[in-house]
Amino acid sequence: MSEYNFAYLDEGTKRMIRRAILKAVAVPGYQVPFASREMPMPYGWGTGGVQVTAACLTPADRLKVIDQGADDTTNAVSIRKFFQRTAGVATTERTAEATLIQTRHRIPETPLTEGQILIYQVPIPEPLRFLEPRETETRRMHALADYGLMHVKLYEDIARNGEIATSYAYPVQVAGRHVMDPSPIPKFDNPKLSDSPALQLFGAGREQRIYAVPPHTQVISLDFDDHPFVASKAPHACALCGDDGSYLDEVITDDAGGRMFVCSDTDHCATRRAAGHAGTQAEAIA
């Protein structure tokens, strides 16, 4: 462990990233460029989130890493191990016990609390990208709050599908100003972005951008008056813990069409089951 500086990155780099984070916190939703470093893992594995985590970690922190809500997937396990080895920090799978949570594609079901930091891995930080390919132009559009185009995207969605079919990476407006891509979280999670007591940081490694939603900041999902935003999920209850209010994954259980819906947030599901809740197939799995 001593062959690495604390949390892998050198102090100069961490300071540079912290400056970008401070700027991002000062201008909620604004994408701050930063000098993203090569990390010992490929792009797409969360190098942006890892660098932000490295810059925020202190030896006293307790780290949780989730991927699609689960603590036990390859991506989550390898990032957790990376920081165990390079920073020697304590880790946990319990949302409530973590001081710092790095996430890919989910916001934990357990409400976050003051003092926690949620760090998102972001593949494409620019919400206007697929409508306006020129970066010079999208930056100007952000500068001028020229966001009509964002609604054109939603308009097209309704024209083509009869409803807003965007179900993840659903665009939001932060603090009444910047339009932001919340990373590919399901739109079910969008309401949790708003007025959260935790600090939310977003890191895009390949695109070299950091942005933030400070605690207690209003985050609004864009919509139309006659097609309001709906935080949708599969219309089932978790087969294991019975929760009908959490976001679900569909799991194929055999090759005869058998399937079940289970909580995507493994910690949430386990905590509920430990407390005695049970779903329809709790016995079968146990």
Binding site: D146, Y155, A159, R160, D223, F224, D225
Partner: protein
């Protein structure tokens, strides 16, 4: 039709590209409801002038004073960019020669028309769609094509769609850069008819840049002739065409084939 101020007052507009002159010391007033044509050959500076007026290019000197709805005559070039953009999507319109420059090819016809509405804060899908349908009708595009993309349209339809997209917010000033260029003659006629009708119904003022003298004769009240970046002659359209004073205008007029 005329108010107390010109709708647009261009004063000493000058733009150079290094040592080469784009346009120099161009001044004119455009009154409400007036259509002005700018003619000249390629490289005469007419497109440079149009870009400078429309804010797509920053001139080296001069002023472009527009009679704004809220605060009267203001120099557009001295406005902060957010304000200028707001003006560009509410009171101004720009029709490009190539519809591909003025349309979003990946967005449906309805989305193209609705964009300006959404840009100024429209947030009711049903109303946006109703307005888009109405405008498609006005430019003679069938309502059932509202969800088709412009790539599926003919050149003339694309140009009409561009006009609908621009006029949906009820602008007062339209800049047109060779609006009939690249279209078949019969399609041109239809477009000219449409533009003339819209200009009159909406009381629009327009600046039309073209090299087609037949187009300006039919659409423009006034004409400005440019050569090498300078205005060599200007006046009432039929006076400039029937009694040209400058050598270059005489050459231009006499070079047109009569049909």
């Amino acid at each position: 039709m005329s108010g107390a101020h010109p709708l647009l007052s261009v004063q000493g507009l000058t733009k150079s590209y290094g040592a080469r002159r784009g346009c120099a010391d161009v001044s004119f007033d455009l009154w409400p409801g007036e259509v002005m044509g700018i003619v000249g050959e390629s490289g005469s500076g007419k497109s440079t002038l149009l870009s400078c007026m429309a804010g797509n290019l920053t001139p080296d000197a001069g002023a472009v004073v527009f009679d704004t709805r809220t605060s009267g005559p203001r120099d557009v070039l001295a406005m902060p960019e957010p304000e200028r953009r707001m003006l560009a999507r509410t009171d101004w319109a720009f029709v490009h020669q190539n519809p591909r420059d003025g349309l979003r090819m990946g967005v449906s016809a309805g989305g193209n028309v609705g964009e300006r509405l959404m840009g100024v804060g429209a947030r009711h899908y049903g109303q946006i769609r109703a307005q888009a349908t109405d405008w498609l009708g006005r430019v003679e595009i069938a309502a059932e094509r509202i969800d088709d993309r412009p790539a599926q349209f003919s050149g003339g339809m694309q140009q009409r769609l561009q006009i609908a997209r621009n006029l949906v917010t009820g602008p007062r000033l339209v800049f047109m850069d060779e609006p009939t260029g690249g279209l078949d003659v019969s399609v041109q006629a239809r477009l000219l008819d449409l533009m003339r009708g819209l200009v009159r119904q909406m009381g629009l003022s327009a600046v039309i840049v073209t090299h087609d003298l037949a187009v300006v004769r039919l659409l423009a009240d006034r004409l400005m002739v440019m050569k090498d970046g300078l205005v060599v002659e200007e006046g009432l359209t039929d006076q400039v065409l029937d009694d040209p004073q400058h050598a270059y205008t005489q050459l231009l007029v006499s070079s047109v084939l009569q049909v």
